[in-house]
């Protein structure tokens, strides 16, 4: 079919995608070039591979296994605070990992609340470092995502099914077998794959709670061979390994995953007539209450101890906060510069772009890109001097798949709904962008920018790789304070970080929706 006239150009979007591909593939090439295959993999490297896969598999299965009853309870119960709880399920996405870890330490750590409670009964304290600590943190961070994904599945079951089931007098078993299991069979593999892929590249959790020969992930091993041994060849070899693993996982996740968990309407309860008995009600209440406690307690712990440490925050923390705001701001700008043209190009029918961008974004791990950039930059300049720009760039690349998922549907709608009118008025591409495309996309741009800002604000990845002693972002500063056992200052800084991340998300998201017409 001949091509229809279009109100926008696809060129800038294709250009942005090409730059992105060049960046990611270029860093991968650099990694491949430096990788010392001759040395081969040591026993320690294989241990890292095994640990990475094991912790990701455990984290994914536990998150999803717990998410099923929680989502089921949330889907069929109405109670005061339900909306708030479902909103809370969205928070871990923008929660800086280091803040989550610090909160978990205060609840489950050696001197934490749980250990103290056990101490009252003369029991030994819990040990949080190692495999179970890593898995605990991953479940804390991903149980909400898994719950949202599965809740979406429950809400997509047509209401008529539940009505028919009530009409036919289905018991709990029939309900499970005929309605719930078929739905779960569709939703659960995707949720498992997504959480598995996320946990494969998780770095900050392993950095803080893992370590040692028995609890080192590949990402952490890259970091260690980089920072401690300055063995670029080995870092590159490990990066290659990581790429193979994450690309595989990303391909599977993209195949299986259906929703994003961002969808609107998740706070709408499903109308059901079963599960009215006392045991079912008590069970659901326990799941909901338990999850709420599990999510709220660590945050409350940070708030409580952070407030105490807030007054005496060292000046370095405030400096780091300013640095973080600047890095996150630049990163958000970069993200929009890439994502908006790409969303426009996809809206014009270049679907291939989003597939490529989504896959590259998911498959590339920050530390791998960081290692590649380090190798590329080193012949020309001192890479540590570029720590902050590199961090901003890598954060923008990491946020891109999410941003595209938010922007693309709306961009398609805007082009679809207003493109013809704009063309018939003879509106040029610049005028369409300024008068129609950007104003109509404002709410989505605000949401995407808020996510990007919060993600960049809280990121503790590539900055840990590049930063010299004198530069720090706020998450790195928190990590350093923790390393120095200044837990009170660390909690204060973590609270500041939490406030900045959630605050900047809130402001950008709100700002986008302010006075926006439907």
């Amino acid at each position: 079919m001949a091509r229809r006239a279009q109100p926008l150009g696809a060129g800038p979007g294709i250009g942005a995608a090409a730059c992105l591909a060049a960046l990611i593939l270029g860093t991968l090439a650099a990694v491949a070039w430096r990788a010392e295959a001759g040395g081969g993999l040591t026993a320690a490297d294989w241990a890292a591979v095994r640990f990475t896969a094991l912790q990701a598999a455990l984290s994914a299965s536990l998150s999803v296994a717990l998410a099923i009853p929680v989502a089921r309870a949330l889907a069929r119960r109405r109670f005061a605070g339900r909306r708030a709880l479902i909103a809370l399920l969205g928070v871990p996405f923008i929660l800086p990992v280091i803040v989550a870890v610090l909160g978990l330490l205060q609840v489950f750590g050696r001197a934490g609340w749980v250990s103290e409670a056990l101490g009252l009964f003369g029991l030994p304290p819990v040990r949080i470092y190692g495999l179970h600590g890593v898995v605990l943190a991953h479940v804390f961070l991903n149980l909400p995502l898994a719950t949202r994904l599965i809740l979406q599945g429950w809400q997509e079951v047509p209401a008529e099914r539940f009505r028919l089931a009530a009409q036919l007098g289905f018991g709990p078993w029939a309900m499970l077998r005929l309605i719930e299991v078929p739905m779960l069979r569709q939703v659960v593999p995707g949720a498992l794959a997504v959480v598995f892929a996320i946990c494969l590249t998780s770095f900050a959790v392993a950095l803080t709670l893992g370590g040692g020969p028995r609890a080192t992930t590949i990402e952490l091993a890259i970091y260690q061979s980089f920072r401690f041994d300055f063995d670029l060849g080995r870092a590159a070899l490990l990066s290659g390994l990581q790429i193979v693993l994450t690309t595989g996982a990303a391909v599977v996740a993209l195949r299986l995953a259906r929703g994003t968990g961002f969808g609107a309407g998740l706070d709408r309860p499903v109308q059901r007539w079963d599960g009215r008995g006392a045991p079912a009600r008590a069970g659901d209440a326990a799941w909901i209450g338990g999850t709420a406690l599990f999510l709220i307690l660590p945050l409350a712990a940070i708030a409580a101890s952070g407030l105490a440490g807030f007054a005496g925050l060292p000046p370095a923390v405030w400096r780091a906060a300013a640095v973080s705001l600047a890095v996150a701001g630049v990163s958000t700008g970069l993200l929009l510069l890439m994502a908006l043209p790409m969303a426009g190009a996809v809206a014009l029918g270049r679907y291939g772009l989003i597939e490529v961008a989504g896959l590259l974004g998911l498959a590339a791990s920050p530390l791998v890109i960081g290692t590649g950039l380090f190798i590329l930059l080193r012949p020309y300049t001192d890479p540590t001097a570029l720590a902050l720009p590199v961090t901003a760039l890598v954060n923008a690349v990491m946020a891109l798949p999410f941003a595209l998922r938010i922007l693309v549907p709306r961009a398609s709608e805007v082009v679809e709904r207003h493109g013809r009118l704009a063309l018939s008025l003879g509106m040029g591409r610049g005028a369409f962008l300024r008068l129609v495309f950007l104003p109509r996309m404002r709410a989505q741009i605000g949401f995407a920018a808020g996510l990007a800002m919060a993600l960049s604000m809280g990121d503790l990845g590539v900055i840990a790789l590049f930063a010299g002693a004198e530069t720090a972002t706020l998450p790195l500063q928190v990590y350093r304070l923790m390393g120095a056992y200044r837990m009170e200052a660390a909690a204060g800084a973590a609270l500041l970080l939490l406030a900045l991340s959630v605050g900047s998300f809130w402001i950008l998201d709100r700002g986008g929706r302010w006075h926006a017409e439907a």
């Binding site: 079919m1 001949a2 229809r4 006239a5 709904r417 207003h418 013809r420 009118l421 704009a422 063309l423 018939s424 008025l425 003879g426 509106m427 040029g428 610049g430 005028a431 300024r434 008068l435 129609v436 104003p439 109509r440 926006a516 017409e517 439907a518």
Partner: protein, 232 residues
């Protein structure tokens, strides 16, 4: 004269053939069954659909290859004729300059155009704050300031009630007579055609027939039209 010479229009696999001419300044109704190709005909003239054979000519000039905005054509669609985030005045202003950088005189022209359709003082309202009839008037006043030779109306008033729709059609006829524009308007109601159209183009089964005088046509319709109109 608007001429479609041996045209074949491709609408994603649906093909419409048209070989017809419309005299300048005429108001022409385009009628026929749903899916027959009425919208396809208008969208081809407006430049949204490719004409794969033949040529579209306006006053002897071939406009087949021109972009939609470069044609002497202004079009109103079934819906989405106003941008919901722009005020009524801005929506009309787009007809003067699609980048909306208007001079003071041009804003005055916009005010006058809104006054002409009975909307004085409502220029600052957004479409959501206007009634359906008022929104249609805003779109019509933009059509007015566009000053294009050809106006294409693809049932823009379909969502209005019968009385309001009749009122709008009379307004369209008035505006067209004032500016001397040629009008092609799609309609489902033979009544609309009778009300304002000089001629009727009947479109059915992938074929757009040349225009015939409204009165004569309805007095003795050809078989295909008789089947479409039904009744006696």
């Amino acid at each position: 004269m608007l001429k479609l010479e041996n045209c074949v229009i491709d609408n994603g696999g649906f093909f419409l053939a048209a070989d017809l001419a419309v005299e300048r300044g005429r108001i022409v109704a385009v009628i026929g069954p749903s899916g027959g190709g009425k919208t396809t005909l208008l969208e081809a003239i407006a430049g949204f659909l490719p004409v794969i054979e033949g040529a579209v000519l306006w006053r002897g000039r071939d406009i087949t290859a021109l972009a939609p905005g470069a044609r002497p054509v202004a079009m109103l669609f079934q819906d989405g004729n106003l941008f919901p985030h722009l005020s009524a005045a801005q929506n009309v202003g787009l007809g003067l300059r699609p980048d909306l950088r208007l001079s003071r005189d041009q804003w005055q022209t916009v005010e006058d155009a809104l006054a002409r359709v009975g909307l004085s003082g409502l220029g600052q309202r957004k479409p959501a704050a206007l009634s359906g009839g008022q929104r249609a008037r805003v779109a019509l006043s933009r059509l007015m300031v566009q000053h294009r030779d050809i106006m294409l109306l693809d049932e823009p008033f379909a969502a209005l009630g019968p009385a309001l729709k009749a009122e709008m059609l009379v307004l369209v006829a008035e505006l067209a007579r004032e500016s001397g524009a040629t009008v092609l308007m799609v309609s489902h109601e033979p009544e609309d055609a009778r009300r304002i159209a000089d001629e009727v183009i009947f479109v059915d089964g992938g074929q757009a027939h040349p225009p015939l005088g409204t009165k004569a046509l309805f007095a003795s319709p050809p078989d295909a039209l008789r089947a479409y109109l039904g009744g006696d």
